[in-house]
Subunit: 360 residues, 5 copies
């Protein structure tokens, strides 16, 4: 605990980051910067740096608006967007990341194309959100395929190994759902605060023309569009989740039903075994080394064989009859209830039954 409390003091003062300038060119790649310098240069609160410190995993995604910069921390991207520069903080192990290079390529390209379009900071933001969206979409498609394939396999055969895989997939699905929802919340949180939206027009601020509180339609449309697409992904993930859920429920019913069928067959076998046992008992009695007065009878063997078979048959038949009686399972209660139901129903409500009350 001591360690934890001290760990919050700035012990590690360096951060690695990539900087793009106003023209969209990469100025520095994975350069080392002091935290304090970063704070003073970009007028950040030291506490804000925690959000972009890539050594802390599993942060809740956020878009923070500060005086001269927008801090974005979403999934694999931790960036500081200014009116004339973008600082990308390296995340651990990002060296091998194809996604990252695609993002960087797109960002550079987007930042260069200035001319007519939206201001610099929005173009940067667009690239970032686009990359986040692709990452979410890619993972969603991947999980959908995994789960879909597994459910399709369950169509053919229900076995234990599939359940184990289902567990792994549904853990992963839930973790994905969680992440996607947090991204959605982060975007919507910004959208709800007029102040933050107005404060995000960094170029205008730099030019000394801060936006009025209501004047942020352009940015709103941009963010709303992304929020909508993240919502679609979240929605899709929920669909998959409820699909998994209802499959689990039905599989349980099927296993239960299957078990009953197995038990019923077991019972049949037991009953026949019991019948045979009776026959064997009769035969055994006549096998005793005692006088049974039939020793010399000509037909006793055939008769007793027949009798013991018959007893076996009767016992089996009675058992099986009882079994088939128990096996009949339906939902309908037996006659009596139905009419009484009609009589007891308060009359004024009779006509308000749902059309589907026919099901009941």
């Amino acid at each position: 605990l001591e360690k934890a409390m001290k760990g919050r003091q700035p012990t590690d003062l360096m951060l690695r980051c990539t900087i793009l300038d106003a023209e969209g060119n990469v100025k520095t790649i994975s350069g080392q910067f002091k935290k304090l310098d970063l704070c003073s240069e970009h007028r950040l609160n030291p506490r804000d740096l925690r959000k972009i410190d890539s050594r802390i995993p599993n942060l809740v995604p956020t878009i923070l608006v500060r005086k001269e910069a927008i801090l974005v921390n979403m999934l694999h991207i931790r960036a500081l967007v200014k009116a004339d520069a973008v600082v990308l903080f390296d995340t651990y192990g990002s060296a091998d990341s194809r996604l990252h290079s695609v993002f960087l390529y797109h960002l550079e390209h987007n930042l260069r194309a200035k001319g007519q379009g939206p201001p610099y900071e929005f173009r940067a933001l667009e690239s970032i959100l686009l990359s986040v969206l692709s990452a979410l979409e890619a993972e969603m498609v991947f999980i959908r395929n995994l789960v879909g394939g597994l459910l399709a396999e369950l169509e053919d055969d229900i076995d234990r190994d599939k359940f184990k895989r289902l567990l792994h997939y549904s853990r992963r699905l839930m973790s994905f759902q969680n992440r996607a929802k947090l991204v959605q919340e982060a975007i919507e949180e910004v959208l709800e605060q007029d102040e933050d939206l107005a404060a995000m027009y960094l170029t205008d601020k730099l030019n000394g023309q801060p936006r009025l509180l209501n004047d942020h339609e352009e940015l709103e449309v941009l963010l709303e569009s992304f929020a909508k697409q993240v919502e679609e992904i979240v929605n899709e993930a929920e669909n998959i989740h409820s699909n998994v859920q209802s499959t689990q429920e039905i599989v349980e019913l099927i296993l239960d039903s299957n078990r009953n069928a197995l038990l019923a067959l077991d019972l049949k076998v037991s009953i026949v075994t019991m019948g045979i046992g009776v026959g064997t008992l009769v035969a055994g009695l006549f096998g005793m080394n005692l006088k049974n007065y039939f020793e010399e009878s000509e037909f006793a063997f055939v008769i007793m064989s027949g009798v013991s078979m018959l007893i076996a048959g009767i016992f089996s038949w009675r058992g099986l009859a009882r079994l088939s009686q128990i096996r009949k399972v339906g939902l309908s209660a037996n006659g009596k209830k139905k009419p009484s139901k009609r009589h007891w129903l308060p009359s004024p409500l009779r006509m308000h039954h749902n059309p589907d009350s026919g099901l009941s």
Copy 2:
């Protein structure tokens, strides 16, 4: 992922659409248009086109209000409503759609009937919402019948195949519920924003008389009426869902109870078999090729037969007695608890028990 990010660049520049003019006549059927032309002609944001691009499946339904047009994307309809024209975007495979032609017929008819009624854009909107509503209703009725039929079948007989069908139906039901809710949310989202409602009076805008923010009662009544009807459908779907849910729960209890009955019968059979086994053992002992001193007894056979039968009977009877003792299952705990409960209950609260506490 690269592909995904690039796929968002406008690679496919053509869209197929059907256009109706101010008189309600079809001007173009499935004509090809460039996306850029559409944007400039209708003053749309290129990003908006995503909403009506019919090649992207499974979009969250939306009603977007733009400067000169209303963009509607709901279920099978993707349309651009203007003050003097309606552009319908073709959805894939819509060629065979009867629903689509009914919609088109109704739309044409509704647009022509100008005269006294609401403005052009609202008549178009009405037709669109009506078509969405019919589609939802048709599917709801269809699913209700499917599910209702299946539940009725379960009344008679519970078996595995029915569970499998139940799974398919409940997946479909959930997907439908999801779609219906999203449609409801889309309509309510528009209803909540006064700005959007006012901006939807396109004809007035075209005539240079934009509506005030509060002056949109006509449109509000129209949309509210549809929202109410969608709500009814959503509500109905939820009813079906909870019906399915409680059926599943009860079916599980019935299967469990049935299993116990099977086990009890199995146990009876086992017990009788055990009894018979004891008899057989006795008989077997006397069947040994050893001296048993009764070889010459006259009545030994009858006596030993009787004895072994008796032993079989005693063992069976004791087992069955134990069984019937275990089988008695009720919820009521045995006497002791009830009085103690009364004593411990803090007195001031005794009179506040719900009337239904009699159940407890």
Copy 3:
């Protein structure tokens, strides 16, 4: 689908209704009126008529405020309340309804008693809400008795037929809960909108003194009082529902536990049967027509009988010992975990355990 879309066109132009005049006297009983006449006479929107068209079942309850009338559609009542008349629309099959005649009697009586009380339209509204409330209460009491009786029966004996009835009752309960909640929402929706509340003072409007937006305390108290009572009913229904729910869960546990008891007895029987089988095997071996060298022994019979019995006993005893070992089921884990738990617990949090952590 075509049919569905056309079905929305006004094909059936007549509605049956009963009209009460300003004195509370019944002017017309089940008279036929054209829809169009109704619309123009009461200045209604044709779309509004859908709400009171009694042929459409299962509508979401609503209270709609229009220029000269209040439209109420709740459970069995579909009425149009004006400042000087009440129009009751016949619902199908209402001929036999005792509830309806009680309602009509109360309404007439309430409308006549003008003098000092609240204005005409509020007296009508009061009667309507009172009738709705009685209907809800009657059904709630009825369902509570049904469910309560069934749960009491489950106290004595758990069997399959009771589950089937439970299913029917809980479907009905859910349908009732749904209806009650919708009524509550409808009343609260009106209560939330100051405009609607003010617009419901029809008499004042007729006298040319429309109410101010805030001046509706009388009506608010009336509606709030009904809303509170509907809330009580909804609350009661939820109590019943959670009662059913927890009963189901515990019944499942009891069935499971019972099944284990059955299995254990089955196992005992199997073990004894196995033991007997071993004895029979020994006896059978000596019954073989082979030389066993004991043929002439005097005590071989008694010895071998004893031996086979003993073997039977040993096998049974070992099996039963193993069984009783498995049968011991408790929640407490075995010693080892407890101390380790104490050591690992971070010290600062030790004192914040809930008092009920003693349970853990």
Copy 4:
């Protein structure tokens, strides 16, 4: 239903109540008052009396603010608080209530201590809320002990009777939770409405100095403090509830697991029985009264005994081997999946796994 509707007419015109005057002295004990007199004396709406009519059980708790009085209806207390008097309505069976007398004692004491403190009506309110709080707390502690004791017993032994008690306790817990939540909602409802809070300063109103809408800090602090304490109780009840819930789930798993263990032992027994059966068959064959050519063999007996034992052993061994193979149950899927998982994971997302993904 007729009865129900008429029952709402004021048939029973008398209410029993105890009155305390401005000095905190009891003026009347259980005196009978006409409802109409009460209404006119305290300027109440007749409808309000329903809230304090003690014959109606199970009301939703409320605090109603009227012109000259505050109506409180909470659990066992139904009171009318005025600026200079408190009217306590008798609840049925309250004669034997110790809680009531403690409450009355506290109320008298609190009302007398005027001097410096808060105004008369707030002192009355404080006593009422304190009594409600004690009642809730007492019941919460009582239920916590009941449930805690039961869960502790489940530690040692899981049996059916405990489930039955668990059902009774969890019904009671849910009913308590419901009541506590409703009390909380009632207090918070008052706290949310500035108008009501200001109107509760009855003494100031009596003195002709009605409070401004914002000026009610004293009352707010008083109510908030009680709301917080009720929240603590609700929170505690929820903790107990979720404790019960998770215990149920785990108990089900344990029963399931126990059942598998029983089945496995059953299977072992069955397998051994089968092996013995094979041996018996062999012995039986040689027991047939047929020529087997070994009749005179010296060692045939020993050999055949050995052979039949061996066959019994082989059958048993093979069965047991198959069983132990099935019995091995773990969650980990078998090797193959793990590596494939790594390959399929879209690279950009690899570094965003939660730390707990190590669990998966």
Copy 5:
């Protein structure tokens, strides 16, 4: 109950507390103070003292803003923060607490470092929140390791003891989740009220410059930052919880599936036993001491042995065939449904199926 009501009267008038002065030095360690003195000295309401009275366990965490002080009650910390002093109330058993001394050390250090930073009261608040955060984080990590380890063990082997530990861990997890959420709510409650935020600038108040309602950005950033971190912890705890949940569900399915496998093997054994029983019956019949006419036949022994084996085989084979037929369990319904599904689907909706409808 009497006791409970009186217990609220101030019977215990002393509180132990540690006081730090404006320089951050400890003035008094565990000194005894009268409650009344504390109230008058810090201008507190006597009711407020309940929040910091350390003898009451399990309070809902709160941050209360009073005229001259901030009262903080969170987990292990109960403190009174003023503009120039911090009063820490001793919690029972805190003597042995390492966390407490770390907190005290950090607090002293933080209070001394005045100079440029935020005002005295915010530095104190920061230390308090930091300590709360560390405590939450430490417990979260601890629980995560416990649960993670257990789930990893379940990978290898599912047994009853693990379920018992799972129960203990998930109770603890829920209790932790609850506490973390309450801390989050307490912080957010303060953040939502502008008045409270402004009133927390105690130093400014002391200097006679109370803050305006909107002017509290510094404090807001501080609290928001902590709220975000608590949210991360809550979020993580929810992840663990849903992980446990889905593991439980899947484990249940696996146990069910395993049970079916056991039953199937049991059935196989029963079937073979039955077959053997038939053979034994035949052998037994020929072992009867009756004439069977084959006594002298040379080959009868071999033939009858073969015949009885054959009968045993046939019975077994038929039983096993039936079993394997029942054992085939898949989700796909048998052919018939699929095509009918296609035909019944209302055409307009066909193209709106989700991409994942391929799973269905």
